[in-house]
């Protein structure tokens, strides 16, 4: 499954997310045991989905499951807390631990900055925090207040490389500019909140870089059309 498009280019997968997470069937081996007991639960479809690739793709993540150790209720299944490289961790003081699915649900409600912090917590968390849906949710939530419609944001950002990529690559330069800071300077206050114009610029940067990186890149003058691309982004998708 493609739920965790850990790359930045998962645009197309992301277009059908509404349908995707509802499929209990697809969630495969890692999905929670508890769900087998409550088939009618429609709750964390997204989280469920997110857990699938965990076992598929992530070598350096034993920690995540291990931390489930204290939580006997859900740790039972496919991954007994084997220790790989992070031994001993499960035996710390008993602090209740959310499973991956629930942590995902929590992160779904977190701001982009919190996602960034979360990514620095541990390898397991980083893997989780790469999920495009988290960045999308944060982005849409934060920017909806600036008058960008969800639909438009999704259309543009997903077509041009994804929300996480947008944050990673195209927010900071705009922040710098807003703060009047030269590109070389490393430290200093940058504004957290972007204004509407700055968001526009970020989106333009995103779409520009998308076009520049296309295999048969269009001639440079095409860049001038960026504003139009916003409206017609869908056709590129």
């Amino acid at each position: 499954m493609k739920c965790r498009s850990d790359s930045t280019g998962g645009g197309d997968d992301r277009r059908i997310p509404v349908a995707a997470p509802t499929g209990d069937g697809g969630s495969g081996e890692t999905s929670k045991k508890r769900r087998t007991e409550e088939p009618s639960s429609s709750s964390s479809g997204a989280g469920e989905c997110s857990s699938t690739p965990a076992s598929v793709q992530v070598p350096p993540r034993p920690t995540q499951r291990e931390q489930l150790g204290p939580d006997a209720r859900e740790g039972e299944g496919e991954q007994p807390p084997v220790d790989a490289d992070a031994g001993g961790e499960g035996e710390q003081e008993r602090v209740p631990d959310l499973g991956e699915d629930l942590l995902f649900e929590v992160l779904m409600r977190a701001e982009a900055r919190t996602l960034a912090s979360a990514a620095c917590v541990s390898r397991g968390w980083r893997q989780l925090a790469r999920d495009e849906r988290l960045w999308e949710a944060a982005c849409v939530r934060e920017w909806a207040n600036l008058g960008f419609s969800e639909q438009m944001l999704r259309m543009i950002v997903l077509s041009f490389g994804g929300f996480r990529r947008l944050y990673v690559q195209h927010i900071r330069p705009v922040q710098r500019r807003a703060a009047g800071m030269p590109p070389g300077q490393r430290r200093g206050q940058l504004p957290v909140r972007l204004g509407r114009d700055q968001v526009q610029v970020s989106l333009s940067l995103l779409s520009t870089s998308f076009f520049l990186s296309m295999p048969n890149a269009p001639p440079p003058e095409k860049d001038k059309d960026n504003d139009k691309d916003k409206n017609g982004g869908g056709q590129c998708g």
């Binding site: 997310p17 509404v18 997470p21 508890r34 409550e38 009618s40 639960s41 429609s42 709750s43 964390s44 479809g45 997204a46 920690t63 939580d71 859900e74 490289d85 992070a86 961790e89 710390q92 003081e93 602090v95 209740p96 631990d97 959310l98 499973g99 629930l102 649900e105 929590v106 779904m108 409600r109 977190a110 701001e111 900055r113 919190t114 996602l115 960034a116 912090s117 979360a118 990514a119 620095c120 917590v121 541990s122 390898r123 980083r126 849906r133 949710a137 849409v140 939530r141 909806a144 969800e150 944050y167 990673v168 927010i171 900071r172 922040q175 430290r187 200093g188 206050q189 940058l190 957290v192």
Partner: protein
């Protein structure tokens, strides 16, 4: 045949009897019983709604083996408070499973409800809400936890969640570079 028929009838009368009651009894993993309004339970929990509709509610206490008594008490408390304070079903329908609808801010009472919980109780309640398919409660509790993380450094988050830092220095530096925009103030 006869037996089946008799069984079916018994089933039928049992269901009728249940339909007459307006509460359901829930039993926690440690055997404590809690009563909650059937209407609220069905409205707030997809799982309980399914059980009620399917007739699998036990008068003597429906076993919820995954939920401890403290968490179940909070669940029931939430249901009662919800029934008292919110007339509409609008909140419940704001599904969170894929954040298409923006998260609806917790009501004042919901905020208070989760604020008074200890760390442990909150985490247990999240799990209970998830288990019971209580979307709104899951929403509110997860929101609370995400607020606990807000503005915190990775170190502080590790502390709250009791996570060991398994990064190497180089890895951490690399990822901080990547996410540099988020760490403008250090």
């Amino acid at each position: 045949m006869e037996v089946d028929k008799g069984k079916g009838e018994a089933e039928e009368t049992r269901k009728v009897a249940e339909a007459d009651r307006d509460t359901v009894t829930l039993k926690s993993s440690d055997g404590k019983l809690f009563e909650v309004s059937k209407e609220a339970a069905a409205r707030l929990s997809t799982v309980l709604a399914g059980m009620i509709a399917g007739g699998s509610i036990d008068d003597n206490g429906t076993d919820l083996k995954q939920i401890g008594s403290e968490a179940l008490e909070n669940v029931v408390d939430y249901c009662n408070k919800h029934a008292n304070s919110i007339p509409s079903a609008a909140l419940i329908s704001s599904s969170i499973s894929f954040n298409t609808a923006p998260f609806k801010e917790p009501e004042e009472w919901e905020r208070k409800f989760v604020d008074r919980l200890s760390h442990d109780a909150l985490f247990d309640l999240v799990e209970a809400a998830n288990f019971l398919g209580m979307e709104r409660l899951l929403d509110v509790t997860c929101h609370k936890i995400s607020e606990m993380m807000k503005g915190k450094s990775p170190d502080q988050i590790r502390e709250v969640f009791n996570i060991k830092n398994d990064y190497t220095k180089e890895e951490l530096e690399e990822i901080r570079q990547e996410l540099a925009w988020a760490f403008y103030d250090d």
